[in-house]
Symmetry: D2
Subunit: 337 residues, 4 copies
């Protein structure tokens, strides 16, 4: 049994994480923190948890977490808040899975450029492991700090990794056209996510400026062994959950669809949550699961990758538990099937 704590309990990723962990036979949720003053019961924050967990939020207190025997902390704090909170945890020897963006970009200057503030914890940044189990599984197993990947980046990275690893594609002008459900925008009400504004509508946002761009490029460059440049366009879709990414890449040599599918199957042969399918996938088929579904097509001389996932499970809290399982020696699939 492993005792865990969750920092920042009021958002969607925390809620999803709690629901998954409640199914985990080897986990006890010892604490959930919140900055809300009245320390609400979790069922007040999230009515869907009524009768499923009996816990009130508490203020963040490292001492108390350590005394309580917490071994692993999931940080669901927003970026900026994580990097000033995580150091104290690491210093006490706790292991941390950070769901924010704070430890994803290795280069603190890149962080400053895209997130608009200088990085407050360069020391630990250097030791953080990017939490994509299909690529960094071994390093995750022994990591003290795991930077849980972004929802969009996973679709771009997992969607292109077999091609990048095989040096099959031109490394520039990789186009990732992503369509996301609205829960990806978080739980804070805004005009853009107000129901009558975004329902029955599609629009693109942060075209060419989305912060997930350098994250995708960093990891794909790791895989490819050469610099990668992506053109990333996120869109808001009137549905709760799910990300669908349509990815366009130019092959360096002629490839058939059959060869491509084989390449993907081989690359993901040992990845229990990647489903290489022949049919065209739909976000609904992986909704609420930790599966990443992908297929490939040749259109004229271009490779078109069609990939999807649930943004809250596979894209955030599910993969966090997958990482947790690897870190603590549990079967990778525990609580996720």
């Amino acid at each position: 049994m492993t005792k865990v704590a969750i920092l920042g309990g009021s958002g969607y990723t925390a809620l999803e994480l709690i629901k998954i962990l409640l199914r985990h036979p080897h986990v006890e949720i010892a604490a959930v923190t919140s900055r809300q003053r009245d320390m609400p019961h979790l069922a007040e924050l999230h009515p869907s948890l009524t009768g499923r967990i009996d816990l009130r939020c508490e203020l963040f207190d490292v001492e108390r977490l350590t005394t309580n025997g917490v071994q692993c902390v999931f940080s669901c704090l927003p970026h900026g808040a994580s990097m000033v909170t995580v150091p104290a945890l690491l210093q006490r020897g706790l292991r941390v899975i950070d769901l924010s963006a704070d430890y994803r970009l290795r280069d603190p200057d890149l962080y400053a450029q895209w997130y608009g503030e200088s990085h407050a914890d360069r020391m630990h940044l250097a030791q953080a492991v990017y939490g994509l189990p299909e690529l960094y599984g071994d390093a995750i197993a022994t990591a003290q700090l795991v930077a849980n990947p972004g929802c969009y980046p996973q679709t771009g990275i997992l969607g292109l990794a077999p091609l990048a690893a095989g040096h099959c594609i031109e490394p520039r002008r990789l186009i990732i056209d992503s369509k996301s459900g609205v829960s990806g925008a978080g739980r804070t009400p805004k005009l853009t996510t107000h129901f009558p504004e975004c329902n029955e509508s599609v629009s693109a946002y942060q075209v060419g400026k989305h912060r997930h761009t350098p994250e995708i490029e960093q990891v794909l460059a790791d895989v490819a062994g050469e610099p990668i440049e992506v053109i990333f366009t996120p869109h808001l879709i009137p549905m709760d959950r799910g990300i669908f990414s349509t990815i366009y890449a130019m092959p360096r040599r002629p490839l058939s669809e059959h060869e491509l599918l084989e390449m993907y199957r081989s690359y993901y042969a040992h990845a229990p949550f990647v489903r290489v399918v022949e049919h065209l996938p739909a976000t609904k088929d992986c909704a609420g699961t930790n599966f990443f579904d992908v297929t490939v097509r040749m259109v004229r001389d271009a490779i078109v990758v069609l990939a999807c996932e649930d943004n809250l499970v596979r894209g955030a809290s599910g993969v966090a538990v997958q990482n947790f399982n690897r870190m603590f020696g549990y079967d990778e699939r525990t609580a996720l099937l």
Copy 2:
């Protein structure tokens, strides 16, 4: 040609009103006011108006409206704000259609009880005409101040008026179970109208406490000539627009469905926007229109009325224009078909 002004241009009823008035051959929108400091162009507030109207918002200024030749003012201000703004307009001789709730309840004590503040303009309250053309058409024609009806109330009132007028139903325990699209909650972002909260969900709200209750009772009592008591339950439905009300009433004497339908047809024989249908209506069939669709069924010994409308057109801005047309001598249907 009649010059009009609109107060409070940033919400959904103002937007809908502008779209309808742009189709009106005898109306010129002379001014739209807003409390926003930067006086945005209407297309900035509402991108859908791009290229359709070239007007910036202005601060409210009675003098200026009068000088500009404005004859009619539509107030889309929230309740509370209307009753402190409208008096100045009436004193200058302008005619006013108030889309807020401020002039709907004749009894200022009832207003205080349901709206939580005392009424600031009792003088004009006494002269306001309730803007439901099917019931008060003649009075509207000559009114200086029209209290445009609430969206829910119209479905309850128009749905029960033929029965109330014919003294066919028990006046107590009238049950109005209403289902509304989310635009009815206005344009200010809130957690309850945040897309991932209200999408894929149904819930009731303000059960037994909704402010439209006394409005329905007041008007139905007018029609029935006796006190009326309703049990009103509003629900939030994951769609943009439309209200569907299912109404349960107990007949005082046995009535067949055929008799009931004839009663409705006869009552609304001269109402161009009321469609008494035999099939079960759907909100989609009147979406974006000024139609009110209604049918009646007998279930065991109860009368079940099924009624629907578009909450923004028929429920607010469309009926406001219908009232305007009556007030200024235009064909009631102008700009509404």
Copy 3:
């Protein structure tokens, strides 16, 4: 370990059932039958099952099921088909949970009247136990044939049972106004469930004629010990899943909200899947779960019960597994939390 078979694998209830049973530590799905000639793999029928179960559909063959050691059969066949298939299973000593309506109404004449054909298996009809664990839990445990309850009826029955049991309400003119997601209409494409027809729309259907009416009345009469008459109005709501029922009843004696809530809490004290809440529930909070959420309000002199559930889990396949757990001696909650 219990071997089970599922009859009729192509619909939504079968899909949901498979997903739940895949999480059940003591169940092996030995067979899924289908009348489709090409005997598709389950992942072809339901792409979401890709990689989760490796089974092809087979034709229904009692002999084979028995030989394979199947002990329990879930019938997801449509009504009419179940009652001609189930007898052979029972004669072989198999236990059956029938998700169709065929064994729910005790009176075969009532069946004939509402379902338009005479009942083909009166013998077993007499021994069937209505599968609502909160009311018939002991009988379910020893039953050979369980008639799994309808989705709508559960909301009406569980919503009113505490009041009926306490003889607190008038037994006639009970109004059940239900709002259902579209998956309740099944998986066969029809114009009424074609996306552009039912999206962004609300409508009522089968007003006063829905087949779940006598089912609700039969069970509530059991509970109340007197005949019950309901006025039931189902509505179609543009969402995938969930049923919300707003129920209106007239009390025989004055009751406060506090007394009512206590009555519900006491009645359901030992029901792990009934959550008596104080806030107004929303279908989203029980979506995808086996929970039934309910609260009560007094509005004027009427009791208003607000109840909701997931129509596919609690309303069909989840409660079927809850029944299965009781029948085979497993913890009632297994695979359902």
Copy 4:
């Protein structure tokens, strides 16, 4: 006043066309044909037309249309059916606007290749004018036969035309990633458009195989004066209406966003329904209108065009009326604002 007839009245484009034409001050809808045997009233086919038009469907009869004085026929027949029906109309001297795909591709072999049957009316194919008013406005004015453009093609063509006309972009590997509401799939129920299948889901379909591909390439080649190759990926989005296309093109020479926007503004200076905007457009802002909204961004060295329209109005019936207005000498905007 011009008398018109509509062939094939049961689908969404016919419904939308009727609604627009009912607002046209110079049009009389003389006949609507249907192959349904019982010749339903239009309000039976489309309940939303109740009380708006009093017309029953009739069987197609050229003689009768001519005798009735019909001057223009809108064909809403499916492809394949149009090309065997239209010739008789043209021979009688009627003018035809064909909303099917039958007369869009100039090359009958290309038609055979993409539509799977040989073209039945090569004679008139040669004289058909492609009905995109912004490109072929003068030819449309005098055409006897107008091939109304496809919904997707308009977004690709109008989105790229200024760049193609200016020879600013590489003519190959133009990527058009389109997202469409479900009404684009027509009114015939199918599993893919069954609400619980496509709601809360995104998927791509006919990747690299969609029939609108050659239509886009033909028209853009006209504009560019050189062959064009597009990679077109359509996606199904859970909303009723709207198409959003994200278009990726590589510039032949460096261009700033400012230059690009100026190029678009200049190109569409006289197009009343094209709105070149600076903000990122959303389908909701042009929903139900004949507007085409477009903006341009530079991302790294690629041009990203973001374009949207209402698929039923601008994408079909609205542009058909725009064409009609040009053909019969009415102001292009009549009935469309």
